[in-house]
């Protein structure tokens, strides 16, 4: 082995305690960074899943213009075009057909405005969590006059199961008022105020009838077998659906605030990493200077007998490299076990609401190969950057001055 590298390797074991503490600092920085990355990825996945799998679906198809105006007249008349494509697409896990319109709900005690959704109960259960969110009563079976409302809306209307609710809405293609009488069949609670206080679900067939539609729908929501397909900007499914007067989009376009938040998370991870490494760098610089001052006489001797300044730089940089190497080995082993443990056990976060999205589940860390490649390499690179100043300091040592330092 090259003499300088041999010297550097042996030097780092001269003061075991200091080496251990420096490595611990670096390893802890790496562990913190890997865990932060794992938690952030887990949180983002949970938020995306909460957003898409709760109700919206990973992607949706509408008639062009509907997303901008929510005009009930803009509905897909021949829904079979979309349905057939989705049935034939192996990338699709499930889809559901929905009508949607603003409506006024009246009970014996009160009245409130809201969004009326007509859904196929069986299909809806495969795409959204409507069925799971039911806290009282029964789910949609397809019979007329069944209606599901949120817990908050039920409180507002002061209704209980079996009570009458009158729904008033404007029909499509003309705007005639239409009314229908329902008996409250179920109460749901998603834990998202927006849904629980203003959304009402009835059977698709009855919604078409009171809206004056024959077989159309306003929205087709669907989930992919592989959730990553939804974020693929070149998704074949999305492209094949977006033909004629139909437009399809994944949650990335439907929920731009969520996409922006994901980008922000990447940036915040960079900031957290920067702060961690700044602290670690100061520790490294301090430790290296202590080690240099302890050996200053020895460096004087080494330079006196012909060690070049550039070789002194190499020596200090090599010591830093070996310190970083030891640290990342330790850090990666501990990180692996922690990521693995929390990916199963999860980190309890209580009930958390972030950007209007309620998160109830534990956040499970997500393993990513970059945590064990890019992040450790960053630790090595930043340790080397931190070592540049001590290395240059060593190269500038004047042998005669160093030899006068106390032995």
């Amino acid at each position: 082995m090259n003499l300088i590298l041999r010297l550097a390797w042996r030097n780092i074991f001269r003061n075991g305690r200091r080496t251990f503490l420096t490595c611990l600092l670096l390893a802890c920085s790496l562990i913190a960074l890997v865990l932060t990355d794992g938690v952030m990825r887990g949180m983002m996945d949970l938020m995306v899943e909460t957003t898409t799998r709760t109700f919206a679906g990973e992607a949706q198809a509408h008639k062009k213009g509907f997303r901008d105006s929510f005009d009930v007249d803009l509905y897909i008349e021949d829904i079979s075009i979309v349905a057939n494509k989705l049935e034939a697409d192996v990338a699709i896990e499930a889809y559901t057909i929905r009508t949607m319109s603003g409506a006024m709900m009246s009970s014996a005690d009160n009245m409130a405005g809201g969004l009326l959704w007509g859904v196929d109960g069986e299909r809806e259960a495969k795409v959204s969590k409507l069925k799971e969110a039911l806290v009282d009563g029964s789910y949609l079976t397809g019979k007329d006059n069944e209606i599901l409302i949120g817990e908050e809306l039920a409180d507002l209307l002061s209704v209980e199961l079996g009570d009458r609710i009158v729904v008033t809405l404007s029909q499509v293609d003309g705007g005639e008022l239409s009314q229908a009488l329902f008996r409250l069949s179920g109460i749901f609670k998603f834990g998202m105020r927006e849904i629980d206080s203003s959304m009402i679900f009835i059977n698709l067939a009855q919604s078409r009838k009171i809206l004056g539609m024959e077989a159309g729908a306003h929205q087709v929501a669907f989930n992919f077998v592989n959730a990553k397909d939804a974020v693929d900007p070149e998704s074949a499914t999305i492209r094949s659906l977006s033909t004629g007067d139909i437009e399809a989009a994944s949650w990335v376009d439907l929920q731009p605030q969520m996409s922006a938040m994901l980008a922000m998370v990447d940036f915040s991870l960079l900031i957290v990493g920067g702060i961690l490494f700044l602290i670690a760098s100061l520790g490294i610089i301090n430790s290296m200077f202590m080690s240099i001052y302890e050996r200053i006489y020895e460096f004087g001797v080494a330079m006196a007998i012909g060690t070049r300044p550039s070789q002194m730089v190499t020596l200090i940089m090599a010591e830093a490299f070996f310190l970083a190497l030891l640290s990342i080995v330790g850090g990666m082993i501990v990180s692996y076990f922690l990521i693995d443990y929390f990916s199963v056990a999860g980190i309890p976060m209580g009930d958390m609401e972030f950007e209007g999205i309620s998160i109830h589940n534990n956040i499970k860390t997500i393993f990513d190969i970059s945590q064990f490649t890019v992040l450790p390499l960053s630790v090595v690179a930043l340790t080397l950057v931190a070592a540049i100043y001590p290395a240059l300091f060593t190269a500038r040592i004047v042998p005669s001055e160093a030899l006068h330092k106390s032995l």
Partner: protein
Amino acid sequence: MSKVIETSHLCRYFGEGELLVKALDDVSIDVEEGEFSAIIGPSGSGKSTLLHLIGGLDKPTHGEVILAGTNIESMTRSALSNFRRDHIGFVFQAYNLIPVLSTIENIEYVMLMQGVPSSERRKRVFEMLDILGLDGLGGRRPAQLSGGQQQRVAVARAMVSRPNIILADEPTANLDSKTGISLLDMMKDLNVRHGMTFIFSTHDQKIMDRARRLIHLRDGLVELDEQRKEFAA
């Protein structure tokens, strides 16, 4: 005999204004090949400063140091390091050796820097171990050697690269009398047998007794440059 060292009006000042200290003031000496000389004088007289300037460990405030025909003033730090590596051997008072290297590794350190081939290195190292009575100690680290053995390893390291001159700064200061005499006799023998040039900075009487030339320094000035008659050829 050719001159291996020439110093001309050498000055080394520290500090400035009222705090100016003239460690060396207008020192001009020449050293010829094969000399066994000692720079002597009381503490603070400038012995180590002169030795450091001669060895290129420091640069003079004024004056010139010409080593083996080369003026060190014109050299870059890196070139000076190479020059020291190839032309000068150093022995210091103590803690001379690199603690994490074995005896053999310490001795071959300079040759490794010079890029001497492995077989040649090993040959020269074992030759030195034999000459200096260090057989069997090659694998030991400095902490496992006595003070005398450490100084002998330092002498071996200084000599093994075959420099033009060996500079020794108080080499016997941390040795007991018997070990010091043994080391000096060995160095003297190397001087006589191999014609190596030795310059000591010392106030050890044992070195003075063996030196052919004594350069007396006082307050940074050469007080006396004495050729010892008893050593005249």
